[in-house]
């Protein structure tokens, strides 16, 4: 029982009950986590690029006693990466409207691109024209392509899992935002893939 001589007090309130429970784009906190992890992984790529150039400056012939990696599969994969941006962007644009059909189809196409890139990557490994244990140059390009392949496979699995989610009614709410953010990670895989391609196929020939 409140004391009888306690005065009632007006108290302003801020009512947040009508705020949305899903955010798309950079408002989403998972988007921020994705950006931070891309920063982490991007730093790792940058450091290995730096390692490549550092070792390059300490060597008089580059590649030392090897042919540079064969271009064919690298070019094919670069093309796959560039075109794959289209379905990734499409999923991202359709996600906020909750269009489950479009998202499902987009994720399916993206998965196929990721699968194709992975398959071509396997061939890329076989035409590097060196073995990782030959010398420091070989070690570096194997690690570069290996690091990127790790991201490629991770993204393939993630896209496929999201595809499965999209086949169920669970593709709603924050899962829609997750599907959109997955495209951001795909762009990261594409950009790092193109940069890695340039390092492996370009700098070995140009520098």
């Amino acid at each position: 029982m409140a004391a009888l001589n306690e005065t009632t007090r007006e108290r302003m309130t801020i009512d947040v009950s009508t705020l949305p429970s899903v955010a798309f784009g950079h408002s989403n906190t998972t988007w921020l986590a994705n950006v931070l992890y891309m920063t982490i992984e991007g730093t790792m790529f940058a450091l290995i690029f730096a390692t490549y150039f550092y070792l390059r400056t300490r060597s008089s012939s580059w590649p030392p006693g090897h042919y540079p990696p064969a271009l064919t599969f690298g070019i094919i994969n670069a093309a796959i990466f560039i075109v794959s941006v289209i379905p990734a962007r499409w999923v991202q644009r359709r996600a906020p409207s909750g269009d489950r059909g479009a998202i499902r189809n987009g994720l399916l196409i993206l998965s196929l691109f990721a699968l194709a890139a992975t398959a071509v990557r396997v061939f890329e490994f076989t035409t590097l024209n060196c073995r990782w244990s030959d010398d420091a140059y070989s070690s570096t390009i194997w690690v570069l392509i290996g690091l990127h392949s790790g991201h490629l496979v991770t993204e393939l699995i993630e896209t496929v899992v999201l595809l499965f989610v999209a086949l169920t009614p669970k593709m709603e709410g924050t899962r829609l935002a997750d599907a959109a953010i997955n495209s951001d990670y795909w762009y990261f895989v594409v950009v790092t893939g193109l940069l890695t391609d340039f390092m492996i196929y370009g700098t070995t020939r140009l520098l």
Partner: protein, 645 residues
């Protein structure tokens, strides 16, 4: 969105109690054996980080005592070189990777940051829990190595070629390198959680301008971790590849480079020591106002100093390599940068003095430890100025002078503030006060012992005693000073024992603390001690830099967060305007299970590369279990979401 609704005070109290009951039910932390492994609340995980880190502090301390006992006299035979090399390597690795970062950044950060932000939980609670378990995995990996005579023995930094396949056969160094992977994954996970919490979960009204110094520091720290940890990951991973699959990154006869390792390592290694020191400085900035009864002077310059230190810290790493014979021009650049980084720390010191100069000092335990920090860290910082000079460094590098320097800055700059912070936040965590008298004994015993051990080491270094030596010849005349340094261990040990007694006793019998025993201003003191599992009945509204000192009692109430599901508020990163709501995932066993599969893959890959393809599928399975959408969906909402047609 703001609605003015007059609410009667006593009706509000009744409503609050009812709300608290419902929140308690919704946010209840799981019990039981499996419940313990499913807990994702930040207070639980933060405490686990701190307790586990402290256990490794004690273990690292035992190793230090063993080192000192071996060095107490010339040609001592307590330990041979093989065991000694494992012991000093483990001492460094344990203290840096298993104690300092997990305690100062992960432990304190995970516990205090969400409370200080006015949030119900940390962002990405499952990632946070996973980070704890993977840290434990790394710790067990490393100590499992030592206890099976496979402890790394190449120094905590494991320079090549000594740590390479030719000169370090067996799995000792592999265990070190993989422990790095474990602990870096852990620290990076926590960095993402803390950065997101600080940027997106601050209470409305806590604009960047009003954000406490400690939150600024944790934000800077998160970014330092994000940029620095990848470097040691690369260094240790390339080393592992050289050792396990025959790459040649560091093999100079096949085009590799020995100094490449040092560059990669110290690009991480220097920011790492600031990652250890900056939390200490932030604790001082947090405690000085409370124990001086003043708002801190120079809030903005201090924040800028913390940020500046974070940036400049990435530009000084070569000062660890001054003896390698690099070109003089680049050495001079790094001397200049290493001297420049003194300035932001000096600015912080000056403002601390300025705040205290016109205040009323309430010399309780936390403040006593702050004074300890001032006296001890300053010596380390000043000896650091000497080390920035290349000619001076070429004389004292790799001697006990360096050992003295970094123990003064690490123990002074992190351990003393750590004890200050423990005594300060212990009442909040546990609900009881620690004992002042026992705390004072702890302080003086430790302070005396510390100086006895480490001040002496300056002289040993000047007299030519090199580091990492398992013994020394009598003719060197290092015996008496070494014995004095060893004597200090007795006092430090006594101090730590008193501390343990104090904590264990006070947990049961300490004076009840209440919400805000120190009369501090920050949001964590606006809830009960210990906090309920939903942290705050209402998300607080902040009106100034020192909320509990500035905010009027009748600030606007944040209402409207659901209490039947674990709903959290997401605000704009700059002006903290409420933007949307998130649902906390609640307890989950998947972080623990994923840590198990990842640990198995990491440890397996020490022994065979096949562990990677064999270990990856279970990891994928547990990750899918973690990320698969939950069975229940929230009840329909009043409004229409953008994606609902």
């Amino acid at each position: 969105m703001a609605v003015t609704e007059p609410v009667v005070a006593n009706e509000r109290d009744v409503a609050d109690a009812e709300l608290a009951r419902r929140l308690d039910r919704t946010w209840r932390q799981p019990k039981g054996f499996w419940g313990w492994f499913s807990n994702t609340h930040h207070t639980a995980i933060g405490l686990r980080f701190m307790v586990t880190a402290f256990v490794f502090f004690l273990l690292g301390g035992i190793l230090a005592a063993m080192i000192r006992m071996q060095l107490i006299r010339p040609e001592n035979s307590l330990m041979g070189p093989d065991l000694y090399n494992q012991v000093f390597t483990m001492h460094g690795a344990t203290m840096i990777f298993l104690f300092a970062v997990p305690m100062m950044f992960q432990g304190f950060g995970v516990y205090v940051v969400p409370l200080m932000c006015g949030a119900r939980n940390i962002a990405f609670p499952r990632l946070n829990a996973f980070s704890y378990y993977i840290y434990v995995g790394g710790a067990l990996c490393l100590w499992g190595g030592l206890l099976t005579n496979t402890g790394p023995d190449v120094g905590w930094f494991a320079y090549v070629p000594l740590s390479g396949p030719q000169y370090s056969p067996g799995h000792r160094t592999d265990i070190w390198a993989q422990m790095i992977t474990f602990t870096e994954v852990s620290a990076l996970g926590v960095a993402v959680c803390i950065a997101t919490t600080i940027l997106r979960h601050r209470a409305p009204g806590m604009t960047l301008n009003r954000m406490p110094i400690l939150l600024w520091e944790k934000l800077v720290l998160s970014f330092m971790v994000i940029f620095a940890m990848p470097s040691v990951m690369v260094a240790s991973s390339l080393l592992l590849l050289d050792r396990l699959v025959g790459t040649h990154f560091f093999n100079h006869s096949e085009g590799g480079d020995v100094l490449l390792y040092q560059h990669l390592f110290w690009f991480f290694g220097h920011p790492e020591v600031y990652i250890i020191f900056l939390p200490g400085a932030a604790i001082i900035s947090t405690l000085v106002p409370a124990f001086t009864r003043r708002r801190i002077l120079g809030h903005t310059p201090i924040v800028l100093s913390v940020v500046a230190t974070g940036f400049i810290g990435f530009g000084v790493w070569v000062h660890h390599m001054f003896a390698t014979g690099l070109p003089q021009l680049s050495e001079s650049f790094f001397t200049a940068a290493s001297l420049m980084i003194v300035i932001p720390t000096a600015v912080q010191f000056f403002f601390w003095v300025a705040t205290m100069w016109n205040g009323r000092i309430w010399l309780r335990l936390p403040m006593l430890w702050c004074f300890g920090f001032f006296f001890v860290f300053l010596i380390g910082g000043l000896s650091g100025v000497m080390l920035a000079s290349v000619p001076l460094d070429t004389q004292v590098h790799d001697t006990y002078f360096i050992v003295a320097h970094f123990h003064y800055v690490l123990i002074g700059g992190a351990l003393f503030p750590m004890f200050a912070g423990i005594y300060f936040w212990f009442p909040k965590m546990v609900g009881r006060m620690a004992d002042e008298t026992l705390g004072k004994w702890h302080f003086w015993l430790f302070f005396i012992g510390f100086n006895m051990t480490f001040f002496t080491m300056h002289f040993l270094g000047l007299r030519g005693m090199t580091r990492r030596v398992y013994t020394y010849l009598p003719e060197m005349h290092w015996g008496p000073l070494s014995a004095l340094a060893t004597a200090g261990v007795v006092f430090m040990t006594a101090g730590i024992l008193v501390f343990l007694v104090n904590i264990l006793r006070s947990m049961r019998m300490g004076k009840i603390a209440g919400d805000n025993p120190w009369g501090d201003f920050s949001l964590e003191w606006a809830t009960s001690s210990p906090p309920p599992s939903y942290n705050f009945v209402h998300i607080p509204m902040v009106n100034g830099r020192n909320p509990l000192w500035d905010g009027p009692i009748d600030q606007p109430l944040i209402v409207g967060l659901r209490d039947d599901i674990r709903e959290t508020l997401v605000t704009h990163s700059l002006d903290t305007e409420p933007q949307h709501k998130d649902e906390d995932p609640g307890p989950s066993i998947w972080p623990f299970l994923t840590a198990l599969t990842v640990s198995a893959a990491f440890i397996g890959s020490i022994f065979t590369p096949w562990a990677v393809p064999i270990g990856a599928p279970p990891v994928v399975v547990t990750l899918i279990g973690w990320l698969w959408p939950r069975g229940h969906s929230p009840a329909p909402l009043p409004g229409r979401e953008s994606w609902q047609h």
